[in-house]
Amino acid sequence: MSFELHRPRSLDEALTLLEKNEGAHVMAGATALVLLMRQGLVRPSVVVSLRDAGLGGIRAESDGALWLGATTTIREAEESPLVRSFCPALAEAFGHVATVRVRDQATVGGNLAHADPAQDPPPMLLALGAEVELAKAGRKKPRRIPVEELLVGLFETSIEEGEILTGVRVPPLPAGTRATYVKFLPRTEDDYATVSVAAVGRVTNGALMDARIALGSVGPTAVRARKTEAALREVALMPGGADNGRLTAAAALVRDEIDPLDDIRGSAEYKREMARVWTERAVRSLLS
């Protein structure tokens, strides 16, 4: 592999470089791109590093939203008091990524732009209704799209030629919102999940309102489970924590909302069953 590397010092400079170099690849933490280049899956002629472009940082926005700049490392997000107080489950989802070494190098924006369906942050960000901002040379206001519209296929996003993902915005959470992220890892803790489930919802008088469920490692992208969400509306547990049948029935719907593959982490059928089991557990933990 032989490429020209650019190290712009600002977003504007980076956008101009992309405009001038069609097909250029953007590199942030580099953990994914280094491996893809070594495997020969990506052979860029121009690489634009965002490392010094000033896109890092975490802040609370005036409307109560949380902003995570694209080159914020996963570990910065995991350890940020701002992220933790905004939504502890989001900090935990970042903390589940690979190992501390990867978390210290890989970035929040790179993790999304890589569109690996087995990553931990995307299902949590989907369930939280997060959006990303995409800047482009000559564009006055960035394009803002839901994470759900960003992730279109296996390692495939809707980012257009010349665009740079500048960060992710998590909208303010209504009072009483609970969130959880569970990762089923039967092998080792630094492995990809067999199945992961993010669940978010308000709980009022013991009943789950407006549930949002998203899963990872069960198809070409992280995915929302909308039929399951609809069936979970106002689900509550009986005294003592028993289910009256509605939670079990709703969780069973998730089996048909995913598209897992047979691989070393289990057969597709096994993953459907584990998705059902872990969805039920995630919702149960929101209610208890």
């Binding site: 490429f3 280094v34 491996l35 190992t99 070494r101 803790e189 630094d190």
Partner: protein, 157 residues
Amino acid sequence: MSRHEIRFELNGEARTAEVEADRLLLDLLRADLGATGTKEGCRIGICGTCTVLIDGRPISSCLYPAVYADGRKVRTIEGIAPDGGKLTPLQQAFIEQGGFQCGICTPGQIVSATALLEAHPKPTEDEIRRWMMGNLCRCTGYFGIRRAIETAAGTAR
């Protein structure tokens, strides 16, 4: 291939190097600078053998572009013990607690555990497990390594 001049600090010493865009920090250290204490293992960021610290934080030098070291402090196994041949309490504990056998993973283990103790001087067993989980050892199992860290931290039971 573009070439880039970088300035960084290696174990407290100012260094400059000219590197190609695709040069990885592991190869800069071992092949170009002769700092062979850092070992090469899987070369895909999994095994932890090539762990070094960038501004105090552990990374896999096999995944880290050498140009990214520009302006940063790099600390390798050679920079862990103070001058004069005296080992750190952690290194001493690895010897006394049987924290290694063949030794290939040991530089990475020591560098990772050094960063752990700097971030969490009295780590819980769970913190040790979570932090060290990405440093693989195929000889000893992990009990000796955990014991060595607990001994250095003064939390061994």
